[in-house]
Structure formats: structure tokens, C-alpha cells
């Protein structure tokens, strides 16, 4: 690791100003992505501003027809939350299948969304459930938030304070994990919210998470596993790597979507 300065922030505002003031400042949340990146010397920030201990950034609020999860809430706490389990079980189970128990004990929703790994799980939840990303300066609709692989519309020093998920009528997330890393080779969130059908795919797209419009159309008329499975996805903009070809990923999208429809009921 290269050298850096480390400081703890007492509040979200203080953290945002510290990152902005630094030469090349970064927030430190669970560290489950940032610290491995530093260890590989893939980044060289001048300052890390630790968000741990800012109590306003932790917790889950039941808003009736929505749930708000604060930015520093850990995967394990989303997985075990009674509110999330009863209102959006698909989200609790998604969080419960991220990485391994030790990663879930540290990693946070804000860190995962800021990072926007093309194979991460939460992006599929945000896009599939049509959530709103709330920062220290504004609210960003799911549709506008993701901006390609490892890229979002967050500005320098902009802090994710919370994410608001509308409660769907039905939803389920199914992933085909890479057996070594547990990241999604393909992960699909299907949801019906206020009569709207959404299908969000992670792990597969060259530009990160995306909506599978063809499967959405098929499911809008006929919410069934067969309808999802019947859609032949194009492999045009999908990833090909040592783990899977684009063609295989295209096939997996329909299969994961159909399993998710079955799980959603």
C-alpha cells in the first residue's frame, strides 16, 4: 500500500468537506473493496476519511410503502432486519448472499453502490426495485444513478447517506455466483411495483447493471417463469471473460429471470 493520511469524521457534512478539501480524498466505509484495491496499489488516495461511528449513517427506517436504508448499514444488518425481511424479502436475501460472512460483517450498501462493480448485487436491487439514492446534496433516481462500469453520477465529495426502496408487490433476486468470488456471473432482480414490471441484470453487461426490456415486456403480459425463459437475450453488449462467454451469460439471464419469477410467486 502507498502512504495516506487517515482521519475519522464526526458527521456526514464533516466527512464530505474533508474529502473535498484533501488533494485526493476518499471515504472509507467497510473497506471491503477499497482496502484490497489499496493493497494491490491500484489506487493512491492522499487521504482516507473513515465514516465509521457516524450514527446518522446507520439504520433502517420503515416508511410504510418504502424502506430507507442508511448508507453505512452493513450487509449483515440488511440481511437480518425484520423490516426488510417482512417487506422486501428479496432484498434481505440478496444481502445475505453477498460474499461471505466476514465480508457481510463489514461491507455497506453505500460502499457497494458508490463502487458500482459490474458484478455487484446491490445495483440490481436499486435498478430493479426503482430505488432512490439519497446523498448529502440531492436525491438521484435509480435510472439516472449508474453511469457505466465502476462509474456513477456521484460528484467528488458526494456522500451516499441513504437509499430508499419502494415496497414492491412481488420481487425476487436470483444469482448465479462465481464459485470463487461469489460475485454475480449473472444476477437478476425481477419486481412488480405499482403495476410496473422491472427486470434488472447485474454481472453480465459491459456497462454494468441494465434493465432487460425484452423480458420486462414478456412478463408484463404474462407473469410466468415460462414467459421469462422464452426470451432469447442478445449477447451483443455482454461481457466475455475467463469465467463465462457472452453467449453463456445471455442464456443465464433468461434462466435466472425465470427462476426469480418462480421465487417471487
Amino acid at each position: 500500500m502507498y502512504q495516506f493520511n487517515y482521519q475519522k469524521a464526526g458527521s456526514a457534512d464533516e466527512a464530505a468537506s474533508a474529502v473535498t478539501a484533501a488533494e485526493d480524498g476518499r471515504f472509507l466505509a467497510g473497506g471491503m473493496t477499497l482496502i484490497p484495491t489499496l493493497k494491490q496499489r491500484l489506487a493512491q488516495p492522499s487521504d482516507l476519511v473513515d465514516l465509521a461511528g457516524i450514527s446518522d449513517l446507520v439504520g433502517i427506517e420503515d416508511g410504510g410503502d418504502s424502506i430507507t436504508i442508511k448508507g453505512m448499514t452493513r450487509h449483515v444488518d440488511v440481511a437480518n432486519s425484520d423490516v426488510v425481511q417482512s417487506k422486501i424479502p428479496a432484498l434481505a436475501s440478496l444481502a445475505d448472499n453477498i460474499g461471505d460472512p466476514q465480508v457481510r460483517n463489514r461491507g455497506t450498501i453505500g460502499g457497494s453502490l458508490a463502487n458500482n462493480d459490474p458484478a455487484a448485487d446491490y445495483p440490481a436491487a436499486v435498478l430493479g426495485l426503482n430505488a432512490t439514492v439519497i446523498t448529502n446534496t440531492r436525491e438521484i433516481a435509480a435510472e439516472d444513478y449508474f453511469d457505466g462500469m465502476f462509474t456513477t453520477v456521484l460528484e467528488e465529495g458526494e456522500l451516499i447517506t441513504a437509499v430508499r426502496f419502494p415496497v414492491p408487490e412481488k420481487a425476487a433476486y436470483t444469482k448465479f455466483p462465481n464459485p470463487a468470488s461469489r460475485y454475480a456471473l449473472v444476477g437478476v432482480m425481477v419486481a412488480q411495483t405499482g403495476g410496473d414490471t422491472r427486470v434488472a441484470v447485474t454481472g453480465a453487461g459491459q456497462d454494468g447493471v441494465f434493465r432487460a426490456g425484452d423480458i420486462e415486456s414478456a412478463l408484463s403480459g404474462n407473469w410466468s417463469a415460462d414467459a421469462a425463459k422464452g426470451v432469447k437475450m442478445s449477447d451483443a453488449d455482454l461481457n466475455s471473460d475467463i469465467h463465462a462467454s457472452a453467449e453463456y451469460r445471455a442464456h443465464l439471464i433468461s434462466v435466472m429471470a425465470s427462476r426469480a419469477v418462480t421465487a417471487a410467486g
Binding site: M1, Y2, Q3, F4, N5, Y6, L28, G31, M32, I35, P36, L38, K39, Q40, L48, D50, A52, G99, D100, P101, Q102, V103, N105, R106, A180, S181, R182
Partner: protein
């Protein structure tokens, strides 16, 4: 250099370290406690698992500075003198280790499982071990050890 202080296995400790020092380096190099191992540099193998404030985590993926003021338990904190902790004894009894490199992480991870679920099924043990890799045993005897250790701890 900043001073980082915490409690390790019940004792207060303090050392001057660079901000980039990992918790595992602090334990091994500053405190000379080499029971906690480093098996990878990708945060995947779990050889470095310790407990911080009662929960298991990878000490290679946390800065020592992030553990300021925390209560840390490592593999060295388990045995009572010459008497092994029941989970360690279960590993010995069930041939749960060969080279032993992964064992400190396996034992610390297992103890976190057992404190959350005192009577885990074989399937639950296997799923819990997602973040702990072993190059020797093929896992069968590790799973057997953890199931036996869980029963021993229930008494």
C-alpha cells in the same frame, strides 16, 4: 506516527504505526502475535480471521487505525494455559487440520457461527465457511470438527 490502542485478548496494547498498517500487521509485527495468518492478498482466504467487538472479520482488510479502542480476540486468546478451547480440541480430535495454515481462521470463524447458531446443521457450517479456504483437508474433517465443537460448547 499515530498511536493505535486497543484490547487484544483482554490486555490493553498500544503501538505507533503508519496509517496504512493493517490490523493483521499490527497483531503480527507490532505485537509479535503470529497465530493470525496471511494467506492471500485478495481478501478471500480467511486465514486472518479474528474477532473485533465480538464479530468475525478479515484482519487483512481492516486498518489497525479502524480498530482503535476495539476489543480484539485472536487464536492466542482461546486456550486456557495448556488446556485447548473446546473448538480447538474438536479440530485436534477430528483431524480437522493437516498443515494447519488455515486453522486459526477456521477456528475463529467457527466460533462466530456457533455464537449465532449454537446447533448448526452440516449445510449451515458449509455455507458459513464460504470465506475460509483450506488447501489440504478437503473440508470434510473441518466440518466434522466444527459440528463436534458446537456440541462440546453446548455442554
Amino acid at each position: 506516527m499515530p498511536t493505535v490502542s486497543m484490547t487484544v485478548n483482554g490486555k490493553s496494547v498500544s503501538a505507533e504505526v503508519e496509517p496504512r498498517t493493517l490490523l493483521v500487521q499490527y497483531l503480527r509485527e507490532s505485537l509479535g502475535m503470529t497465530g493470525t495468518h496471511v494467506g492471500c492478498d485478495t481478501s478471500q482466504c480467511g486465514a486472518c480471521v479474528v474477532h473485533v467487538n465480538g464479530e468475525s472479520l478479515k484482519s487483512c482488510t481492516m486498518l489497525a487505525a479502524q480498530a482503535e479502542g476495539a476489543d480484539v480476540t485472536t487464536i492466542e486468546g482461546l486456550a486456557n494455559g495448556d488446556e485447548l478451547h473446546p473448538m480447538q480440541e474438536a479440530f485436534r480430535e477430528n483431524h480437522g487440520l493437516q498443515c494447519g495454515f488455515c486453522t486459526p481462521g477456521m477456528v475463529m470463524s467457527a466460533l462466530d457461527l456457533v455464537q449465532k447458531n449454537s446447533d448448526p446443521s452440516e449445510q449451515e457450517v458449509r455455507e458459513w465457511l464460504e470465506g475460509n479456504l483450506c488447501r489440504c483437508t478437503g473440508y470434510h474433517n473441518i466440518v466434522k470438527s466444527i459440528l463436534a465443537g458446537a456440541q462440546a460448547l453446548k455442554g
